[in-house]
C-alpha cells in the first residue's frame, strides 16, 4: 500500500514538475499512437463498411477472421514488423528499424482490425435498418456503405477510441521495433517496462498513473468534441 501512495504522490510531482524528458516521452507516445490510429481509421472504416454491405462468398469466414484479429498479440506484430524492416528483411533497405515510423506501422497493424471489425458490426446493423430507404434513394454498394458510415459517425468514435486505447496501452510491439532508445524511440509504456526492470517500482507506477490520466484526458476531449459536433450538425 505504501508503494501505491508513494507512486500516486510521485505521479502528481511528475505532472507538476514539468520535467522535460517526461514531456518529450509523453509527446512521442501521443504522436506515435495518434498517427497509428489515424492511419488505421483511414483504412479500417472503408474496409469495415465494405465487408458489412458486401455480399461475397466466404464473408462469414472473413468476419470471423477480422474479429479474431482484434486479439493480435502485440509481441507477434512487433516481431513480424521487425523482420520486415530488419536490414536482412525485405524492406531492410529503407533503414526504418528503431524509428518512430516503424512504431507507427506496428501500432497501425494492431489497431486496424479493431476499428474495421467494430465498424463492420455498426454499419451492418445500420444497413439492416436503412437498407430499403437507401435503395429507394438509389444508393447501392460501396456508396451506400460510405453514406452509412457518415450517418453513424458519432457511434464510430467509440471504435476509434478502442483503437487508441489499444495503441497507447501496448508495449510489446513498440519495444521490439523501436528498441526503447533514449530520446529517440522511448515512449510511456517502454519507460514503464524499463523502470520496472530497474526495480524502481514506485517510479514505474507513477509513470503508469500519468499514462492513465493522459488516456482519460484524451477520451474526455473526444467526448467533448463529439458532443459539440452533435449539437452543431447532429
Amino acid at each position: 500500500m505504501d508503494t501505491i501512495l508513494q507512486a500516486a504522490r510521485g505521479a502528481f510531482d511528475l505532472i507538476t514538475s514539468g520535467d522535460r524528458t517526461l514531456a518529450e516521452i509523453v509527446l512521442l507516445s501521443l504522436k506515435v499512437s495518434i498517427s497509428a490510429v489515424v492511419l488505421a481509421t483511414l483504412l479500417g472504416l472503408p474496409l469495415g463498411a465494405a465487408i458489412a454491405v458486401g455480399r461475397f462468398p466466404g464473408k462469414r469466414a472473413v468476419v470471423v477472421l477480422l474479429n479474431a484479429l482484434m486479439g493480435l498479440p502485440p509481441v507477434v506484430v512487433g516481431l513480424v514488423v521487425y523482420l520486415l524492416l530488419s536490414r536482412a528483411g525485405p524492406l531492410g533497405g529503407m533503414g526504418l528499424l528503431f524509428t518512430p515510423r516503424a512504431m507507427v506501422l506496428a501500432q497501425a497493424i494492431l489497431v486496424l482490425p479493431i476499428i474495421a471489425a467494430l465498424c463492420r458490426q455498426a454499419v451492418e446493423d445500420a444497413w439492416i435498418e436503412y437498407q430499403e430507404q437507401l435503395r429507394s434513394l438509389g444508393a447501392v454498394g460501396f456508396r451506400a456503405a460510405l453514406t452509412l458510415v457518415w450517418d453513424i459517425r458519432f457511434s464510430l468514435l467509440t471504435a476509434i477510441l478502442a483503437g487508441l486505447g489499444r495503441a497507447s496501452a501496448e508495449v510489446g510491439a513498440v519495444m521490439i521495433v523501436g528498441g526503447n532508445i533514449d530520446g529517440v524511440t522511448r515512449v510511456m509504456t517502454t519507460t514503464i517496462a524499463l523502470e520496472t526492470s530497474k526495480g524502481d517500482l514506485p517510479l514505474a507506477l507513477s509513470l503508469g498513473i500519468v499514462l492513465i490520466a493522459l488516456v482519460i484526458a484524451l477520451n474526455a476531449a473526444a467526448m467533448y468534441v463529439k458532443e459539440a459536433a452533435q449539437r452543431r450538425y447532429g
Binding site: V81, R87, A88, L91, M94, F98, P100
Partner: protein
C-alpha cells in the same frame, strides 16, 4: 501485404518527416551497461567530442549479437567472450577489442538457506544450492549473464539442463526482471555487480558470494562487418570503438561510480 506496409510507411512519414541528417550510430549492447547508468555517463562525452549520437538498443548478449548478424546495429558491445569470438570468426564482426570488466555476484536471501554466505568459492556455493534445492532464479534468456551462469554450473559438475528441478526458476527475462523475481520469491540469483548496485527493489536479498576469480566478467566491443552489411556506418562506428579503448574513454569508464563504488574497470590493451 508488403504493398500495404509500404503505403502505411509512406503515410507514417507524414507524421515523422526525416530530420536534417543527424550523425548517429546504432549500438547493440547489454542491459547491464545501459541500466547501470554507464552509457548515460559515457555517451554524452563521446557525442561532445565527435558530434556522433549513439543510439543504444539494450538487449541480452545473445540478442545483441543477433542484431549485429542481421545488420541492424553498427557496433556491438557485449560480455560473452566465446560467443563474441565466434561472431568475429564467422565474419559478422571486424575485430574484437577488450574494453573493461566488472564481476558477477551471487545474491540471495539474508537468511541464507543454502548456507553459502561468507565463502568466496562460487563453485562450492553452486553445489550447495543444488544440494539444498533452494530457489534459484535464472535469466534463461541466452544473455551473457545466463551464459556465465551455465558455465559455473558446469564447473561445479552439474549439467543444469538435465539436473534442474522445481527449485530452478527459469525466468526467461532480463537482469532486472530476474532480480525482481528473485526478490519476490527469496531466491538466489547470479547478477552483474553494476545492475545490482543500481537495482532498487532488493527486498531481503543481499550479496552472498563475491570476489571469486571465476566471477570475472569481461566486456568486448566490435564493429559489425561492413563487408557483409554495406550500410554499416564504418567510420563513425570505428570512431566509437577507438574512443572507448582510448586513454580518454578508459578514464571515463573508470570515473563512473554509484555511491562511491566504481562499477567497471577499464582493461583495454
Amino acid at each position: 501485404m508488403v504493398v500495404i506496409v509500404k503505403a502505411l510507411l509512406i503515410l507514417a512519414a507524414l507524421a515523422f518527416p526525416a530530420h536534417a541528417q543527424q550523425k548517429f550510430i546504432t549500438l547493440a549492447s547489454t542491459t547491464s551497461t545501459e541500466q547501470s547508468g554507464l552509457f548515460r555517463h559515457l555517451l554524452p562525452m563521446f557525442e561532445k567530442n565527435t558530434g556522433i549520437q549513439v543510439r543504444v538498443v539494450a538487449l541480452g548478449t545473445g540478442q545483441s549479437l543477433d542484431m549485429g548478424k542481421r545488420g541492424d546495429a553498427d557496433v556491438v558491445f557485449v560480455h560473452a567472450k566465446p560467443l563474441e569470438e565466434k561472431f568475429v570468426a564467422e565474419g559478422f564482426g571486424v575485430k574484437r577489442f577488450e574494453v573493461m570488466y566488472n564481476d558477477f555476484v551471487l545474491v540471495g536471501p539474508k537468511s541464507d538457506p543454502a548456507k553459502v554466505g561468507g565463502t568466496r568459492d562460487i563453485v562450492a556455493a553452486m553445489h550447495k544450492i543444488k544440494a539444498a534445492r533452494v530457489p534459484f532464479a535464472s535469466r534463461g534468456d541466452a544473455s551473457g549473464t545466463h551464459f556465465a551462469e551455465v558455465e559455473l554450473w558446469k564447473l561445479a559438475g552439474i549439467n543444469i539442463a538435465k539436473d534442474k528441478g522445481p527449485w530452478y526458476r527459469d525466468t526467461g527475462s532480463g537482469m532486472g526482471p530476474t532480480l525482481n523475481t528473485a526478490a519476490g520469491m527469496n531466491a538466489y540469483a547470479l547478477t552483474d555487480r553494476g545492475t545490482w548496485l543500481s537495482f532498487k527493489n532488493r527486498g531481503d536479498l543481499v550479496i552472498s558470494v563475491e570476489g571469486d576469480q571465476r566471477l570475472f566478467n569481461q566486456y568486448g566491443v566490435m564493429l559489425v562487418n561492413p563487408a557483409r552489411h554495406p550500410h554499416v556506418k564504418k567510420e563513425m562506428g570505428q570512431a566509437f570503438v577507438d574512443w572507448v579503448i582510448s586513454p580518454q574513454g578508459q578514464t571515463a569508464i573508470a570515473g563512473y561510480k554509484i555511491g562511491g563504488e566504481q562499477l567497471f574497470f577499464p582493461n583495454a590493451k
